[in-house]
Symmetry: C2
Subunit: 337 residues, 2 copies
DNA sequence: ATGAAAGCGCTAACAT
DNA sequence: ATGTTAGCGCTTTCAT
């Protein structure tokens, strides 16, 4: 069977070399901006390449050079925040001279499948944005290739982790509410979601530090709008004056229910989210929230991956990034209640 | 400079062959499930491969065989609906024995850059999910590789298009509202968004067909929640009894404003969205909407791409898929107004 | 059924 | 500065 031509421009280095009347090695040098070619030749080769519409074949290039300068990224199509992270990863990778190859987790494609796909591409390292997935898999993977987990706390000692400081995030949220005069501050948590335990702890610590230990009230929530809405119903019997939510999505669900029940925000109820995702920034939601520094996280993740690839020593496996408070319209001074 | 080992399992075909005591050609045959090996050998080779944790190198494989069986997908990290499409594409590609490689459009990575990245991977075809981007680029691209545009109407005759029937979608929306007794039915459009013109036209046609030409009322909207909210304010002066929105996101914005203004949904106002995206399905939004058949669209897009790759004749460049009505909680019988 | 050998498009030694 | 040559890991004739 003859190889398909598939209508594509199968222009090779050799074609460019022939047209520029030089050797293929020289063309390779020019295309890579490597030293060892006269300006005149460079000029001529570049012209020939663009005349022919030449595109270097990444596979051949990388096959030959042994390393790929390719970073695999596992992400989920369901999380808006992953989109922000992917954005940052592309930027950071480009700065470092690396390429990115994406592999999605979907409802019908598991984290394991996504990772397998990446391994076949011979990435130099893998960055995992997934929120769930068995940690054991990660250890196995880490034996094959350096792994950096982004945003999720993992216990595995074989992988690097870059993540947000969830405890500090809830300290910020509670302190902000306290500074507005609130005392009856509840927390709707993330249920069994990874990270939920740490945010809960941050909430408790901050309440205690502010002398509000007796006011501690944790309601089981979750990651979704619907779970936030459900938690809201549980809170409504005896509404607090403020609530720190597990994330922005659940905060949105709570807002909807609270307003439906006739509570004005922030006059009757102040609400703080977590993530600062696109949702929170929407004009009509305009949610006060805890921002994760996506740029810092992605830059560090890429840096860390490259450190591993290039065999540099790394002092600590986990890097924790400080979050920041974003004040918008859903928090205000405690009213007379 | 020695090629980096990057700590990875650099297990090759040759290693497996050595361990199984056969030739590399035979290992290749077994790994590809190609005919020409005895069951006993197959068994032995497979064992050797798994003992060694062998992973075929896709680049080398594809480099040699000339074609890639690789489909490039350009998508945007900002659109939730693209996530659904990517999900479907993975499934359809797998059924067809093709691999997918993703290239994201982000706020800092243009459609052109995303496409360039794909070309360097020597995909056999490219599927573009982008909503914006210059059509001229697509023609250029189409000269290099078969291109299928998914979901966006394009005038370019050089590319294939698979998309939803937007006009039919608005027919469904209006007919549904009419069947509930509504007459004062407005439409908030998508502004300059591609596809907006066709949905507007569908709305007008359906209104006329139902003898409601005099009730036609089109308000400029957009694709986002904020734009929907703004349109809502424009409508509130003289609220209709029902409104067909450009999409689910803008419908959400409108819902928020309408409820804030004391309008009950669906008692005072019925609302129909468009897309049936995750937003619409959320319990507390529960939006009646027009569903696009993501599965059909993705299956057809993959089919079409493969038809082109394999040089089959294609009867028509554009395929239009029928949408369907999803009735949820935001539409009801017209009240006494 | 199995193996030897050529070569995909490219890069990296080594020549000149 | 430029050319020659030998592979990277795999698939694919073509022998056996």
């Amino acid at each position: 069977m003859r190889p398909q031509r598939s209508g594509a421009s199968r222009v090779t280095l050799a074609d460019v070399a022939a047209r520029a009347e030089v050797s293929t090695a020289l063309v390779s040098i020019v295309m890579r901006d490597a030293p060892g070619a006269s300006p005149a030749t460079r000029e001529r080769v570049r012209k020939a390449a663009s005349d022919l519409g030449y595109q270097p074949d990444r596979r051949a290039r990388l096959l030959r050079s042994g390393r790929t300068r390719l970073l695999g990224v596992v992400f989920s199509v369901r999380h808006a925040f992953h989109g922000d992270l992917v954005t940052g990863l592309y930027e950071a990778a480009e700065r470092a001279g690396y390429e990115l190859t994406l592999s999605a987790i979907t409802p019908s494609r598991s984290e394991a499948q996504a990772i397998r796909g990446l391994l076949a591409e011979r990435c130099d390292a893998v960055i995992v944005l997934s929120l769930q997935g068995a940690s054991a898999q990660l250890s196995e993977l880490a034996a094959q290739v350096p792994v950096v987990v982004l945003g999720r706390p993992v216990r595995e000692s074989a992988v690097d982790v870059v993540r947000n400081d969830d405890r500090a995030g809830l300290h910020l949220a509670v302190d902000h509410l306290v500074s507005l005069g609130h005392e009856r501050i509840a927390h709707v948590d993330g249920g069994r979601h990874p990270g939920s335990a740490e945010r809960r702890r941050g909430y408790r610590e901050a309440m205690e530090r502010n002398g509000l230990a007796s006011q501690i009230r944790v309601v089981t929530g979750g990651v979704s709008e619907a779970e936030g809405a459900e938690a809201a119903r549980a809170l409504l019997d005896e509404p607090p004056t403020a609530v720190a939510m597990f994330n922005d999505r659940s905060a949105t669900g709570l807002l909807e229910v609270a307003r439906g029940a006739g509570l004005a925000v922030p006059e009757d109820l102040s609400v703080v989210g977590f993530d600062d995702d696109r949702l929170a920034r929407l004009g009509y939601i305009n949610l006060t929230t805890i921002g994760q520094d996506a740029t810092a996280m992605t830059t560090l993740a890429i840096e860390r991956a490259i450190d591993r690839i290039e065999g540099r020593e790394v002092e600590q496996r986990a890097v924790v990034i400080a979050p920041h408070l974003v004040v918008r319209a859903t928090t205000g001074e405690r009213g007379n209640d």
